[in-house]
């Protein structure tokens, strides 16, 4: 494990950005986003909860696939190049790092999504333990430990010290490249380090959504849940927007569309939302004709279909963004509480 005085963070950032593009949570119009670090960028370690997760950096909201062009009667086709920018994401929350694992299962399993794979290859994820989780957080329910974040490198910020622990080869490489600025942590640090993690644990146990039980969900709950008569009431407030989908670190659905530039056709893919009425629209129409069905689809996918196809891994990491951002205050927590076996414990 390495460490660094907080006062030297700017130095660290400068070093990293010297090698690869560095992105970290910065405030834009009062909202937190991952933004490119430049000298003088204000970084506030106490603010970690970005509106959108780190997903964008591997699976951008919109990306070009191929370009068709017709001259006279000939047609020329140009494929978009795989992204090549090496980058580092700093300050990723434990839940978002976990979210990437969910995306990996979708995009890196056969057939491999080369765009995603390239970005994963080029990107180093430096996570940060959540010193101050929020009332909307429930990552614990999905086996995420905010005190022990994953990623390529895990970091902790205890008082005036940054602790740095590589978790992967990519992490090792980055750490090696920074060895002259990072100091090795010694025995004396262990105390403070442990105390810090304990403090986090304590808060996690105190979270209002702590203890949310997933009993009754999972791959084999299809029959039990699909036909539940609670869906209509649950979905009544849903206005069918895509906010929950677009702030979600694990939603991975996209649509492929063509755009006629007037000089040729650009084929691109962009995020889609199962909450939209034109999601998976086909010639005959839409398979899910009502908002109830669309609503059910989203949560069934996260809590039943996804685990069914991924050895029990859920399609939710408890980041709490949908809880905070839904215009109608509808969210997965309410679904879990309403449909879970201990629904009445509420």
């Amino acid at each position: 494990m390495q460490k660094l005085p907080v006062s030297r963070l700017p130095e660290l950032f400068a070093r990293i950005d010297g090698m690869k593009s560095l992105y970290l949570p910065v405030s834009a119009g009062g909202r937190l986003q991952f933004g490119r670090w430049t000298t003088g960028t204000a970084y506030d370690p106490s603010r970690m909860n970005t509106v959108k997760s780190a997903k964008d950096f591997f699976f951008p909201q919109s990306e070009d696939l191929v370009f068709f062009r017709s001259k006279g009667k000939e047609l020329s086709i140009t494929e978009a190049k795989d992204p090549a920018e090496p980058f580092v994401l700093f300050g990723v929350r434990a839940c978002d790092a976990k979210g990437l694992e969910a995306l990996d299962r979708v995009f890196l399993s056969d057939p491999v999504d080369t765009f995603y794979a390239a970005r994963r290859e080029n990107g180093v994820v430096v996570t940060m333990a959540c010193a101050e989780p929020e009332e909307t957080c429930f990552c614990g329910a999905f086996g995420v430990d905010a005190a022990e974040p994953g990623g390529d490198v895990a970091a902790w910020l205890a008082q005036d010290t940054l602790y740095w622990q590589s978790r992967t080869d990519k992490g090792d490489a980055l750490t090696a490249a920074l060895e002259d600025i990072l100091e090795d942590a010694d025995q004396r640090d262990q105390g403070a380090f442990a105390a810090h993690k304990a403090a986090i644990k304590a808060i996690l146990d105190d979270l209002p959504l702590n203890g949310l039980s997933l009993e009754g969900f999972g791959g084999d709950a299809l029959e039990a849940l699909f036909g539940s008569d609670k869906w209509p009431a649950l979905s009544q407030a849903c206005i069918g927007c895509g906010t929950c989908t677009f702030v979600c670190p694990t939603c991975q659905c996209y649509d492929i569309q063509d755009f006629d530039t007037g000089r040729g056709v650009k084929r691109f893919r962009c995020w889609d939302s199962c909450m939209y009425s034109d999601f998976t629209l086909m010639a005959h129409g839409n398979p899910r004709t009502s908002q109830v069905e669309r609503f059910r689809q989203r949560f069934m996918h996260k809590l039943v279909y996804f685990p069914a196809n991924n050895e029990g891994m859920y399609g939710c990491v408890g980041c709490g963004r949908c809880v905070a951002k839904c215009p109608a205050f509808m969210n997965i927590v309410k679904v879990i509480r309403t449909l879970g076996v201990n629904a009445h414990a509420r």
């Binding site: 370009f67 062009r69 755009f259 530039t261 007037g262 000089r263 040729g264 650009k266």
Partner: protein, 153 residues
């Protein structure tokens, strides 16, 4: 294809003119019949009435690389359909005010009332508008980069 040269000196703007069939389009014809010259940068689209011009068309033109858009209709009171240009007048006023509010150069948009008898006014208006837009230079604020890529490939 419009020449999009960064060098302002030989920058030629692309102007889309929506003309109502009854007055302004006829005015454009009269300008032609009277051999009144105006810049070839102006391309006319014929619509039945200025009230047929959807704000969408204007944004579309800017998206696709137009540098100026002008809507020409019958003089208020002379609309072939009695009231069309009155609605157009309100719509366009509010739309252009909105564009201005978003910081898009207000000189890129214009509404003119040109009657079938005003060939000279048509030619003069188009020349003057083209001049104004030329001075502004290329429309960078409301263009769609995707439509400009591959421009010279």
């Amino acid at each position: 294809m419009p020449v999009k040269d960064e060098n302002k000196a030989d920058f030629r703007p692309l102007i889309v003119a929506f003309c109502c069939n009854w007055c302004s389009y006829a005015g454009a014809d009269l300008a032609g019949t009277s051999r009144l010259n105006y810049p070839a940068d102006v391309k006319v689209i014929r619509v039945p009435c200025s009230c047929r011009v959807n704000p969408l068309f204007i944004l579309r033109a800017f998206q696709r690389g137009a540098d100026g858009v002008i809507i020409a209709g019958c003089h208020p009171g002379d609309c072939h359909y009695t009231s069309g240009n009155y609605y157009a007048r309100r719509r366009m006023t509010l739309l252009f005010s909105m564009l201005d509010y978003l910081g898009i150069e207000r000189e890129r948009t214009r509404v003119e009332w040109i009657s079938a008898a005003e060939g000279a006014k048509f030619a003069a208006t188009m020349s003057e508008f083209t001049q104004a837009v030329t001075e502004l230079g290329e429309n960078k604020r409301l263009g769609d980069i995707r439509c400009k890529e591959y421009l010279n490939s």
